[in-house]
């Protein structure tokens, strides 16, 4: 084992001997590693922002719902009480609770909204006001009045387009009609407490929020819900949570009464957009590091070329060709490893120090950017995931190894007797 130590010593001292060349190559690696961290954290931050906006308007990072709910949005496609209890138990368990930021259980049905001015089709979402305010973004988009509050009973929160179509103002009355639990048409009188503008036409013209308790009485569904939306702090936790929930809900899932859906499944276009964007970024990193890799090949190869005699001596002393190659590989690897760690740490630190509170891209994005029906916040907060650090270091070490292989083979294969000739 000790001779591994001496090979490392040799590698480091040789790098120091070629200080200028080493610093030059290391700087390229440091800048590369720094850039990688900067753009990865911003890329991840951007995607997290897209995902967050998307899931808040949609069904959450993870949705638990009746398997037929998504296609029909009918009252009969409710979650069985047992499934709901199981979900709540999972969400309360310490390991999961640490990742979950909000869960909102809701009853969503399709129906009609009518006033003296006319009638319009409506998507009626009955919610717990506090949970839904934390879950969605629509409560922040009030243009008149306020969002639902816990004591509200006959309250409705309507979109600005629907309000105009039905001639509704604050305190106006409207009647909601939908099929109830007995499959009878039932009506419910409510009052407008607030009007919102989300910026998404389909939502502004049809989505109505109302208290869950009121809807339960109106439709005869009690405390039942059709779907539960869960938000987590980091979307990276989603697949784990989906797995846990599926395991806990094994029985209702087997009986076709519940389904657990991650955001990628629920919003395939968004998942594809993230994947395409990631792919584009990876391509750029790939090209960047191939260029840096050639720099390493050059540095290490030059040092091999100038040291034929030294490698000849090493082999005469009893190093095998393989060990001689290993000396070179160590040299390339220590050069990359040290500069990779410095570059990544520096990149992460500088990104956090200067842009930790977010980078404002509003100048580049214009007024409002929507993305398949989702409004995107122009301020991007960089996101640092531990897995990204590990990935980046692995990636850079891989590049370093690949770049050192050719010079290492050259060193292993030198002709010892040739290299020892004195007049060379």
């Amino acid at each position: 084992m000790e001779h591994l130590g001496v090979l490392v010593t040799l590698a480091f001292r040789n790098l120091r001997r070629q200080l200028r060349r080493t610093i030059l190559t290391a700087s390229a690696m440091v800048i590369g590693g720094g850039t990688l961290m900067f753009s990865l954290s911003l890329g991840d931050g951007t995607h997290e922002e897209w995902i967050d906006s998307g899931v808040r308007m949609g069904s959450g990072h993870v949705a638990i719902e009746h398997p037929r709910f998504r296609s029909g949005r009918k009252l009969e496609d409710r979650l069985p009480a047992a499934a709901r209890d199981a979900v709540e138990a999972v969400l309360r368990s310490p390991a999961v609770a640490a990742q979950v930021t909000t869960a909102s259980a809701k009853l969503t049905v399709t129906g009609m909204a009518s006033s003296a001015a006319g009638a319009r089709p409506a998507r009626i979402m009955a919610v717990d006001p506090v949970a839904e305010a934390a879950f969605g973004t629509i409560d922040d988009q009030t243009v008149e009045g306020r969002y639902l509050e816990p004591d509200d009973r006959l309250a409705a929160y309507v979109g600005v387009t629907l309000a105009e179509a039905l001639g509704l103002r604050l305190d106006s009355r409207l009647v909601l009609t939908a099929q109830d639990a007995q499959k009878e048409i039932a009506g419910q009188l409510v009052r407008v407490v607030g009007i919102y503008r989300s910026g998404v036409p389909e939502i502004d013209q049809s989505l109505i929020h109302m208290p869950l308790a009121t809807a339960g009485e109106w439709l005869g569904s009690g405390e039942d819900v059709t779907n539960i939306g869960v938000l987590v702090a980091d979307s990276a936790a989603v697949s784990g949570l989906v797995r846990t929930l599926r395991a806990e809900l094994r029985d209702p899932i087997a009986e076709g009464e519940a389904a657990v859906i991650g955001w990628r499944e629920a919003m395939p276009e968004l998942a594809a957009a993230v994947a395409i964007d990631d792919f584009g970024n990876y391509l750029v990193y790939g090209i960047l590091f191939v260029i840096i890799g050639f720099g390493i090949v050059n540095t290490v190869l030059m040092s091999v070329m100038h040291r034929h005699r030294e490698f000849g001596v090493l082999q005469a002393l009893g190093l095998t060709p393989g060990q001689t190659g290993a000396v070179v590989l160590f040299e390339g690897l220590s050069l990359t490893a040290v500069s990779a760690v410095i570059g990544i740490a520096l990149g992460a630190f500088l990104t956090w120090y200067f842009f930790g509170d977010g980078l404002d891209f509003s100048g580049m994005m214009g007024e409002e950017m929507t993305f398949s029906g989702v409004v995107i916040d122009p301020v991007i907060i960089p996101l640092f995931r531990p897995s990204r650090f590990a990935q980046s270091i692995t990636f850079i070490l891989f590049i370093g190894t690949v770049a050192s292989i050719y010079p290492a083979i050259r060193a292993a294969r030198i002709d010892v007797t040739e290299s020892m000739k004195f007049d060379r």
Partner: protein, 233 residues
């Protein structure tokens, strides 16, 4: 003829042929020689007579085109490259004409390098190198890099390195060629001493009459073949 396994070196009908363009160069021609343990032998002969090539064949740095070579009783012609490397590590020390040392290691680190590869523990390494440095007049030079040593001092470090690992055989190719006469004499004196006191086998390739004078056995080569082989009384 003695048993090849008891001598330090034995070659049997060794040829080394290089092909250059259409030409065949026989650098070593049908050399059969036996060198007993503890000998102090010089290979002499004009430039191009094959001295270096023969040393390289004996040291396992290059393979003979024909014939057999034994070092410390082991047949080199049957070994793989890594096996040859291990044989060099354990049994053969080398001293070359110049630039023998690894420039990034100190004199001490250079001298103990083969022992480090052999896995000898630090105390033992320090003791062996310390003793040899004292004997050879390198006291106080342990921490110096090769660049800060004279040519003669560098060669002495190389000699310490070649013997400290207790090889069966030390091969020295023109070790004095870059030294002035005083440095050459000093270097040869210590090698002769090491040979007599420790029984280490030395084989030199040389043009230097000072080296030849000190050797008990003088082998003359011409055109790759052995012309004469004399043991001095």
């Amino acid at each position: 003829m003695t048993d090849p396994t008891t001598s330090a070196v034995r070659t049997e009908h060794v040829w080394k042929t290089f092909h250059q363009e259409a030409e065949e160069i026989h650098a070593v021609r049908d050399v059969t020689i036996e060198i007993a343990r503890g000998e102090f032998t010089a290979l002499a002969g004009p430039s191009g007579s094959g001295k270096t090539t023969l040393l390289n064949v004996i040291g396992g740095l290059t393979r003979p085109s024909r014939g057999q070579v034994w070092v410390a009783g082991r047949n080199l012609t049957e070994m793989s490259n890594p096996e040859l490397a291990r044989l060099r590590l354990g049994q053969v020390g080398f001293v070359f004409q110049a630039y023998n040392l690894l420039p990034v290691l100190t004199a001490m680190e250079n001298a103990e390098f083969p022992m480090l590869l052999q896995g000898i523990d630090p105390d033992e390494r320090a003791a062996r190198v310390g003793e040899l440095f004292k004997r050879i007049g390198l006291d106080g030079m342990e921490g110096r890099r090769p660049r800060k040593l004279s040519g003669g001092q560098q060669q002495r470090v190389a000699v310490v390195r070649s013997v400290a690992s207790k090889p069966a055989l030390v091969l020295a190719d023109e070790p004095t060629a870059n030294l002035d006469s005083a440095a050459s004499d000093a270097l040869l004196d210590v090698m002769r001493e090491l040979n007599e006191d420790l029984g280490i086998t030395f084989v030199f390739a040389t043009h230097d009459t000072r080296v030849m004078e000190r050797c008990r056995r003088l082998v003359r080569m011409v055109d790759g073949a052995i012309e004469s082989d004399k043991v001095r009384s």
